[in-house]
Symmetry: C2
Subunit: 364 residues, 2 copies
Amino acid sequence: MKFICMKQDLLEAVSTVQKAIMAKATLPILEGIYIEACDNIKIIGNSFDMGIEYTIMADVTEKGSVVLNSRIFGDIVRKLPDSEVFIQVSESMMVIIECENSYFEIKGLSSDGYPLLPEIEEEKKVTIMQASLRNMIGKTIYAISNDENRKILTGSLLTVSEGDLSMISLDGFRLAIAKTMVKEDVSFNAIIPGRNLNELHKILEQDEREVKITLSKNQALFEIEKCRILSKLIDGEYMNYKSFIPEKFETVIEVNVRELTEGIERASLITNDDKRYPVKIIINDEKMMITTSAEVGISREELEIKTDGNNMTIGFNPRYLLDSLKVIDDEKVVISFSSSIGPSVLKPIQGDNFIFMVLPVRMK
Amino acid sequence: MKFICMKQDLLEAVSTVQKAIMAKATLPILEGIYIEACDNIKIIGNSFDMGIEYTIMADVTEKGSVVLNSRIFGDIVRKLPDSEVFIQVSESMMVIIECENSYFEIKGLSSDGYPLLPEIEEEKKVTIMQASLRNMIGKTIYAISNDENRKILTGSLLTVSEGDLSMISLDGFRLAIAKTMVKEDVSFNAIIPGRNLNELHKILEQDEREVKITLSKNQALFEIEKCRILSKLIDGEYMNYKSFIPEKFETVIEVNVRELTEGIERASLITNDDKRYPVKIIINDEKMMITTSAEVGISREELEIKTDGNNMTIGFNPRYLLDSLKVIDDEKVVISFSSSIGPSVLKPIQGDNFIFMVLPVRMK
């Protein structure tokens, strides 16, 4: 194997595929990056849950493939001068890396047995803007559960039906839904692991280029220009989340997002994330009072709001409210309280592309 | 106690004095910030090693003093709106903090027994620019030892004599000296603990305002406008560092700092901070070769240099060389090698305000 490529291309490829590689694997080959020189260069990182393949342009003078330790190779590429990089594998599996006045020789591994990305049969496919998918993941990922005992909640439901693509996360205390339109007339349900969504979110760009999503029985493939990201799916039936969303509300308010966020942040300083002390929200006509009371003292905060419905007193875990508020870009949010013990729904003022739901805490 | 002050002033004072306070102290009062309202507001943080006093302007309507938990009070002040802050202590030692629509009531502690900063007798005093002292600390602090068994090396020597103020750190493997002129005709030696210098470095501003340094028998006081920082000194006689600096050199080179830094950084990727594998520097006329060899492979790097003296092969712990190179602002550095087993001296090309010395590693 022998080729010349640009450092920046190589760096982008290596940084991307590294997201799939586990730092500590059972076999050295699984801590490695697969490099294959053919017409161009194919670079792969793969773990059991996720595989990423990245293609870059190169001037290939000898075909071949090798596996290099991900950490060492990544560190070297990152520190190389911004110039042409020459890579060559000797017969003894030593890999020579040269760039301007820098020269490295590092031990390579045979690429035999490296888990390549399988071809996926194009069963069901949708195409959306990268920015759109990125945004949807960003707005729902916080509500994914960490509880490995309820495996299906450690991923987000990706569902397509009747021209809508939705992404849903819920963890038993809150629920986040993001929605967008797709042209394709297909329907599917897939539960994507949270960790993979997190890496996918970092790879997706905030621009109008497309990402193609292909579903097979137990895998989802995300394709972006030079990059293919394969995620395994979580087995099982997702919860019937629609049934959790209340339809009737006792009180509906409109409130400034920044003011509410800062008010809750200040109030939660007193409770210091101690779950015994929720923040109490008191809605009294066009005023909202946010109060906390803990061993160290008390806090009180007053906001002007628009109110429709009854006055209400309701308690929340401040962390849960803040997580939802953080992903709302609008200046104002509409909060609908079903009751002081039922779920509350947060929605941006315009459109219904995003819905966030939080369960209250019972107050003593 | 009752006063009104500006949030920004209060925040600056609290953030500064917090640097002296230990997160976990034996007594609650020592985890606290002392606040005293008189003509203006005096705010103090104190631990056994270091005390900081900060004075801010305020509209005081009732004199008095109180101690507040540093973490809680600091967090609250940080999150308050940028406006006027009203602070009042009730008879039951509850402290009311109000700012715009935010209201807090937190438990205060009696200020009885809080360790105030002692007045220092003006024994010996020098005055220099804040930026100057900041720069000197920044350039020498990396060479302070962490080894608590050699207590005096866990601080820097601050020494004034014959119109020169010098700061010296050494840890047995490297030595850093920074020097500046002072007007005062005094002479003293004081060893300031590294931790205190680190905090002082954060407090000093990169500007021309002055800092007054006053020495007493076992304390050093640094005074900057509204702020007094008192550091205890480390007992003992500092090492005779001057005797360590070689006077004769076998080889003297001039090399580009960025190129040398990047070359050593790349070389040390192969050794991954494993002390068994030093970087080897080979000086051959006007060329420097930097090489490493470890289990994972080898690296080689070539630089153009100016050389005066013999060719030389010498090994270094890359970390030690990088630490020195990092604090050199000049484009080029002069490195003088006494021999392949003796200390090497790094100096900026112009002036002799900074000297850095590194011991080599014996090569097999």
